[in-house]
């Protein structure tokens, strides 16, 4: 009896929660604020989406598109009619079956928000649902990226939602987080800036194949996953991992990489073969970067190694990459890159003189609060000065930069000339996904507003090409043209290390932040 009282008292005082559950405690790379992954392109929302939603197709570790919710599909000989059959056992978290109507509504909503989805929808004549497990896409003309779009692994991912959710205005956020994915979102335990909780979806039927990228069996071996959204100080994250208070740090700071490698309780799992890429983006609307010769001079001056050494610093985590499409993916190639990869500062200085640069100061925006890219602008400013440019390096927080880069005004009215950023590999790996290849000038979607009709025509050809070899050739031509006109400057690639306790197993090549197949011993 005394023991029982003592146990009860201990429980009351110290609290025992989820003691019997296997809880995977993860520190994500950022805060989770927006729970609707179609509304925003934020990676945290995308990762949340992968927890609770499922996809029709996925991209495996070798960047091949593989079926996920789809069991089988056919393509008509003229490539204009696609018929998809859903696999059996698909069920939403509320117990209702996933039907082809849910799929069509979800694709329509996604097609109104995502760049690649919008591009696909320009080809789509209509979609229909001949039966509950079958849907068809009728195209006006052959489209060379139908499956790539449906299986795209990064923002915005075409997640499948219930029709009632997908039918709402695509520019409004949702408050119904029912999916059919391997985890169920615990809405009542979600505290923005504190924690997000996911429970194992015991009714989820995984595919039989081994997990690979965003494809294969999404097996869940823990009862509960907790994202620690409050733990954002890099040193505090490492302290918590060392002490075993968390299991995984999604984005280990480069400064802590060597230390973590030496710690006997910590592992650095390999989870990605697709790197992130840094880039410098020009504002094509205003002087001096309205002149392609000036842009070429900058390309010649920007030696990737100097950016990588300053920003990453750990040799095994970075590599130079002469491609605008992520190296190691199907369209990664050095085509047309000589202007940057075979240049030096002398050549850059000569190009600046020959370009007719009139001494206009270049406004480079530097985010002071984003450790992952904050050193890049300093390197850029130094190299630009060495090449003969005048530079106005302006420090600001990232959110100010994000607001300011959307401005099309000249620099004396609050505009800008250059900013530097990083992309996850799958967001820039082909000419459709890569936003810098949209060269419609001010009509183009992404900041910088490059204009080039020849590149646009090549891109349109790429969209219509269904032969893979020809697509590859077209991608090379597109990239060569992009280097020729200087859409932007690729600044090399890096791998973002993840750190985990040694008792966590089951890591595989996800090329993203995905948390199925993991075991906690």
């Amino acid at each position: 009896m005394r023991k029982l009282i003592a146990l009860l008292a201990f429980s009351a005082v110290f609290g025992i929660s989820h003691a019997q559950d296997k809880v995977l405690r993860i520190v994500p790379h950022s805060n989770l604020a927006i729970l609707y992954p179609i509304w925003t392109t934020a990676y945290m929302s995308r990762n949340h989406g992968y927890m609770i939603y499922d996809t029709l197709f996925g991209t495996d570790e070798k960047n091949n598109i593989k079926p996920q919710m789809v069991e089988s599909w056919t393509e008509s000989p003229d490539h204009r009619l696609w018929t998809f059959k859903l696999r059996k056992g698909l069920e939403f978290h509320d117990g209702k079956p996933v039907t082809s109507e849910d799929v069509v509504a979800s694709l329509q909503r996604w097609g109104k928000r995502d760049a690649m989805g919008s591009a696909l929808m320009t080809f789509v004549d209509r979609m229909d649902t001949p039966s509950a497990d079958t849907f068809r896409i009728f195209l006006r003309e052959a489209c060379g990226f139908t499956l790539e779009a449906l299986g795209k692994p990064s923002s915005n991912v075409p997640f499948i939602m219930p029709k009632r959710v997908a039918d709402t205005d695509p520019f409004k956020q949702i408050d119904d987080y029912i999916g059919s994915g391997p985890y169920i979102f615990k809405r009542d335990e979600f505290k923005p800036g504190d924690k997000a909780v996911y429970l194992k979806n015991t009714k989820y039927v995984p595919r039989k194949e081994a997990p690979s990228g965003t494809t294969g069996g999404k097996n869940v071996y823990v009862d509960r996953v907790e994202w620690n959204l409050a733990l954002r100080d890099a040193q505090a994250q490492v302290n918590a991992l060392q002490k075993g208070e968390v299991d995984i740090i999604e984005a280990l700071g480069f400064d802590f990489f060597e230390g973590a490698k030496k710690d006997s309780n910590i592992q650095i799992p390999k989870y990605s073969t697709v790197n992130l890429q840094y880039m410098a983006r020009f504002n094509h609307l205003h002087k001096p970067f309205d002149n392609p010769k000036v842009r070429q001079a900058v390309m010649a001056a920007f030696d990737q190694k100097q950016f990588l050494q300053a920003q990453v610093g750990v040799k095994e985590l970075y590599n130079t990459c002469a491609s605008m499409f992520t190296c190691g993916t199907p369209y990664g190639s050095p085509a047309g890159s000589d202007i940057q990869s075979k240049s030096n500062m002398k050549k850059a200085q000569d190009l600046v003189k020959a370009s007719g640069y009139d001494g206009t100061p270049i406004v480079v925006m530097k985010p002071t609060d984003l450790a992952s890219i904050q050193k890049l602008p300093d390197v850029a400013a130094q190299l630009l000065r060495q090449a003969g440019f005048k530079v106005d390096l302006q420090a600001m927080d990232w959110q100010t930069l994000v607001g300011r880069r959307a401005k099309k005004d000249p620099t004396d009215k609050g505009g800008w000339n250059m900013f530097l950023t990083a992309w996850q590999g799958h967001d820039i790996w082909n000419p459709i996904a890569n936003p810098t290849m949209d060269t419609r000038g001010e009509a183009s979607g992404w900041f910088g507003w490059g204009k080039d009709d020849k590149l646009l025509a090549l891109r349109a050809q790429f969209m219509r090409e269904t032969d893979n070899a020809k697509k590859k050739k077209l991608a090379d031509e597109i990239q060569s043209r992009a280097f020729e006109i200087g859409t932007h400057v690729p600044l090399g690639e890096y791998s973002q290390p993840m750190a985990a306790r040694k008792n966590i197993s089951g890591f595989f090549i996800t090329n993203g932040n995905i948390y199925w197949n993991l075991r906690k011993n």
């Binding site: 005082v13 760049a115 409004k172 505290k191 923005p192 924690k195 409050a230 505090a236 927080d397 994000v402």
Partner: protein
């Protein structure tokens, strides 16, 4: 007394009104676009414009102010742009950690600082006084995050006594709550111990020089009684004032401590809201902090009546 309280409460209205107008205008003058932040890195200009429209940010500032102020008059602080949650709910969620940290820190600081201050004043110029003054300089000088990292390294990582990070609600168990808050409270209390001890020492020293202390000693009262009943009681007003300011400052946000120890409190919420240009949340928080300042000041003023019977309102 009642009319004093009523007047003070009424006086808060124009204060909060001015704060509301200033915060609203300042936020609109700050560079940065909430819509661009919400849309994400790969969003295009059209998507950003649609989001801006959805948030009502494309409307004239006066119209935006009118809508916000109208809601405010009905007790509605609005909805967070960033979290799509009512600002009052967000503040409610974050209040407990911050309040817990503030109360624990102040309790710890008062329990340590007041006796130390009295002793230092009693033994003015002695080793204890000098040691306390030295500690005060250290307490004021050492940055909170440096102290936090030192304590984490020693207490958590080397000795393994306390957790490195995190917060547990009181509802999950008082022990667990204390277990998680001990280190952050100790870290924060160092500064407040230094501050309160110095003020206590100075006030008690001044009181000990008064005629009534000499009279009390001449009457043969025990020294402890002289110190507490006559010395401390007459020195209490500046001490209580400092404690009040300390509580207000602590509730107003201990950003660094909350960040280092991963405590999801109001300080962290404020930083996140400012960085995300989450106007309704920042406005709500600043108004809340202003209200707390006014309330704490009112309570401090009222406590003067108890501490000094000569004071009448």
């Amino acid at each position: 007394m009642f009319s004093f309280v009523a007047r003070r409460i009424l006086a808060t209205v124009p204060v909060l009104l001015i704060v509301a107008v200033l915060v609203f205008l300042l936020l609109r003058l700050t560079p940065g676009d909430p819509a661009a932040i919400l849309a994400g890195d790969a969003a295009n200009t059209e998507q950003i414009a649609r989001i801006r429209e959805g948030l009502g940010l494309d409307r004239p500032i006066l119209v935006q102010f009118g809508i916000w102020f109208g809601n405010l008059l009905q007790g509605n602080l609005g909805e967070s742009f960033y979290y799509k949650t009512q600002v009052a709910t967000l503040i409610g969620q974050r209040l407990e950690p911050t309040l817990s940290l503030a109360v624990l820190t102040i309790c710890l600081a008062v329990m340590v600082a007041v006796p130390l201050g009295i002793l230092a004043a009693w033994r003015f110029g002695g080793w204890l006084d000098r040691a306390l003054m030295g500690f005060s300089v250290l307490g004021f000088s050492i940055p909170v995050f440096v102290l936090a990292y030192i304590l984490i390294w020693l207490v958590s990582l080397k000795l393994g006594w306390l957790p490195v990070q995190g917060y547990q609600r009181i509802a999950d168990g008082v022990g667990l709550w204390l277990y998680h808050l001990a280190l952050p409270s100790i870290t924060l209390s160092v500064l407040y111990i230094a501050l309160i001890a110095r003020v206590t020492r100075a006030s008690v020293m001044e009181a000990l020089g008064e005629d009534y202390i000499r009279t009390a000693r001449a009457k043969g009262l025990p020294e402890l009684r002289v110190l507490i009943h006559h010395g401390l009681a007459n020195a209490a007003i500046p001490i209580v004032t400092v404690i009040g300011i300390g509580i207000a400052l602590l509730i107003g946000g201990v950003v660094v401590t909350e960040s280092v120890y991963a405590i999801p409190g109001l300080g962290r919420l404020t930083v996140d809201a400012v960085l995300a240009r989450d106007f309704p949340t920042v406005q709500g928080l600043i108004l809340f902090f202003s209200f707390v300042y006014v309330l704490v000041n009112l309570l401090v003023d009222l406590s003067y009546v108890i501490l000094d019977p000569r004071i009448r309102y």
